[in-house]
Symmetry: D2
């Protein structure tokens, strides 16, 4: 399993949950089927767009079970593990691998500031608990456990820590990581980055919410980048970037859930107290999706 | 229950948990007995010092059960409810009241930014789920859901929302709240504030980790403040402030757990990846406690 | 000169400048006369309310000349020195002492982050350039050169560095400084602090913009504090706090200049691009001043 | 003059000043000659690397005079205007155009927060004061006057506001600006961005300190980008990025001044209290320059 190679477009799946907190399993399975049909290279349940921070353990486990079952091995499933506590994260990771996840996206939530040794220990413990590849996730805007270059360097020495998804907005930081660690830690862009730019500096793909709404176009962009057709890639990138702009402007889960509803997937609203997409936000996402032929 | 009046010194209890995650029930009950014997006016399990952000539901519930049972109604128990999700917080609050908590300390954790309406809804939903008084808790340094004056004003209109524990360090903010809301929202200081100063501007007590280590002195300070003996209060306050200074400098739970171990309570270390108190921190807390006659 | 003792209420003077940038000397002299008549204990031209950051050297020098001349030695004048560059600050300080200032308020502006040694050197160089007492000024909200406790400790060893004006909003920080340095560094509150609370923990007065608008009431508050009449002090403090609240809400210079215009002093508007007080702000400051009998 | 087209590599010149504050005119002229000989497309005195925030008006004026005289019209000189006050900035801009600058780099320094209208007015007033093109400069890390997309949109309507130099590290922000404003506002990268990535998304060059140390290589990178040789561009970019990494790690002016001293230009140390490059920093910059054949 640690040999699994991850690359390409991995939509961050939303987590469809009804008003009573039950996972809407059929809708989630339909979304998985749809995205695989559009050619995505993998699936990431329980990323930030997947509202991991708002779901309990039973909900999280059910979501991974549904996604793994629906994917039927056609594409790798990289499940999000997130906690403040090391032991809890380790238990989540082991359970997800047992269910059949092909990789773990490891997120560290924080309440108190944690020194760098503690941060490294947290991610290392997750990696040791599984045989599959681990994608480190760092998002300085939300989770406050910034993975510094020295910390990344220590973590890249763990055999199955093989990828980084960085949501820092700082593309230069990615090049510094590439220069320091090369292929020891392969980079996935987040929605905060321009995928084509990250591909040009050596990234292997992107893991992001917007790809849920424009999967086919995302795959096309990936193919253009991979074959070095940069002018065509940039033309497409510019058009697709509108989705990222809306995504950054409105609440993440609200935005993707709202857009999926427009596309016919009854994924519902974000978990309260997160607000549903505003009327203004709905109009904007509708306009953007229409202009991209994605409605 | 909503008639319960909260005032005075409420130590933020630590959460003694062993390496396998089990609550150390006997140690916790001993600590409760000790603090009541020293005269504290109430007990607050699952505050920030209580590491709520690092504990699962079973651990949290057991801790409240043990504290309520050990307190035997001698002092009110105000249990900490903390979540990102409204429904989860409501369930916690209802369960704690059922167990016998006399009040709820309501904390809102965040991952994504939540608009003010959502923040108000979160706290309001907790208050509606219980009959006992609710203490709002806001800590701009850690939880990022700042309760603005307009938000506090809306919440103070809920009958059982009666107290605020503010950990902002900004004493002027407390006076602004006093001026705007008067006794509709009574104020407890946090360890980030100088208790005597907060008492002088109209506070009703403090809820804080340091009172675990110096309960008798804290009660004496409260009595001096309440009887208007400000010069004596300030002399004592200055000496006690050393505990707050150490507490702010080292990790909260590590500091109080480390100090309690020195006092003979086998409360153990903080939940990983939080580090245990460093050698340097241990020396400093030992020196401070010794100088206060608290060893 | 270094023997001059500073204590009490020091209004931060506004800097009346006309549309062509000329200092409105007569208005400034009238304001000085008015404030002295109301009993203030000193005057501080070129504090933050004095818009030092928006004035050139000729304007600054003229302002100090006018204030020193108008004060005629009746109260000490503490002139604000502010720069990013050490040599420039030293030149300003020497010039102000030559003009007749009785003390220097030393501010460090920053553009790039400066290491602590550089910060200490900057303030030390100013102190060495003059014989009069120096008031260190630190405002973490605006000037980004936070004076840490170790830095303050090093600076307090310079003989004429004798005071600190702290605008941090963190009253606990002041008590930590008191505990560490005692009378080696006496503390003036800023408008971000509650003066009565700072006096209770050992402060010697306050330097702040609001005292321009309510000088007599400020002096009365100071007297109540100094004589230990804390309940009466707090009653007055609560009413006066409204001025600080408005001051914090609207732009500093705009707020005080707007209020002084209402009191008949033709001090004009802040230096562009700072906006003048909004209509809403004018209504609020008018209401507050009226309620305090200060119109 | 407004027709002047700016594009390519514009080194941010250092400001060589001796211990007594006098501009080292000969050294500055030599540096200008050297950079033009290496093929740079323009020169930018008084950018952030040029320590504008640490220099007085006489120093600034002299620096622009020396650079304009030394450039002898061979490449455009874009002079940095920086102030907190609108009138002062306007005077600087007019004087620099009078001296012969071909463009103005407009920086807004702040002390108090300024509302967006004030920010727009500041930059608009500078543009109206000159006939030459204006480059807006925004650096959220240092100057705190963030130019939002709406503000940029308003400013792009001013005929001679034609360029933006953005130092935000957020490359996605640049693409959003490109999408919204197209060629109405052409983009120069700062050292915080990867020049090749910015060129790929439509930038016209870069204005940055590192180009002082590696001018020929920078020009070669620009040519590779301009002719669409992206794989070769990225290979070179990766090597050059090391200079940006060191630059970001150590103090800007110290780093470039230290490197130029190694290359034989006696530019001296940064203006105090900025520290000179540390021993460790010197070793690192020396290693990087050596590896690039730039010593």
């Amino acid at each position: 399993m640690a040999r699994t190679v991850l690359r390409g477009v991995f939509p961050y799946l939303v987590s469809p949950v009804d008003a009573r907190g039950r996972v809407k399993e059929r809708v989630l399975a339909e979304l998985v089927e749809h995205l695989i049909a559009k050619g995505v290279h993998g699936l990431t349940p329980l990323g930030s767009t997947g509202e991991f921070a708002y779901l309990g353990w039973e909900q999280r486990r059910r979501i991974v079970e549904v996604v793994v079952a629906a994917a039927r091995g056609r594409v790798p499933v990289v499940a999000g593990v997130a906690s403040t506590a090391t032991a809890d994260a380790v238990a989540q990771a082991a359970a997800f691998e047992e269910i059949g996840a092909d990789g773990i996206l490891a997120v560290m939530e924080t309440y108190f500031p944690i020194p760098e040794d503690g941060i490294v220990d947290y991610f290392r413990a997750i990696a040791k608990a599984v045989a599959c590849p681990v994608v480190l996730y760092t998002n300085p805007n939300f989770d406050r456990s910034v993975l510094t270059l020295p910390a990344l360097s220590r973590l890249a020495a763990v055999p199955n820590v093989r990828y980084l998804k960085d949501a820092s907005t700082n593309t230069g930081r990615l090049l510094s990581i590439r220069n320091a660690l090369g292929d020891r830690l392969r980079i996935f862009a987040a929605s905060a980055h321009i995928p084509a730019a990250v591909m040009m500096i050596g990234g292997v793909g992107w893991m992001a919410g917007p790809a849920c709404l424009v999967p086919a176009e995302s795959v096309r962009l990936y193919d253009l980048c991979r074959t070095g057709k940069w002018p065509q890639a940039m033309r497409l990138q510019r058009r697709l970037w509108q989705v990222n702009q809306v995504f950054a402007k409105y609440s993440l889960a609200a935005c993707i859930k709202g857009g999926l509803e427009m596309q016919g997937f009854k994924v519902g609203a974000p978990v309260p107290p997160q607000p549903a997409l505003s009327r203004e936000g709905r109009a904007e996402i509708r306009r953007v999706l229409a202009s991209l032929g994605a409605l």
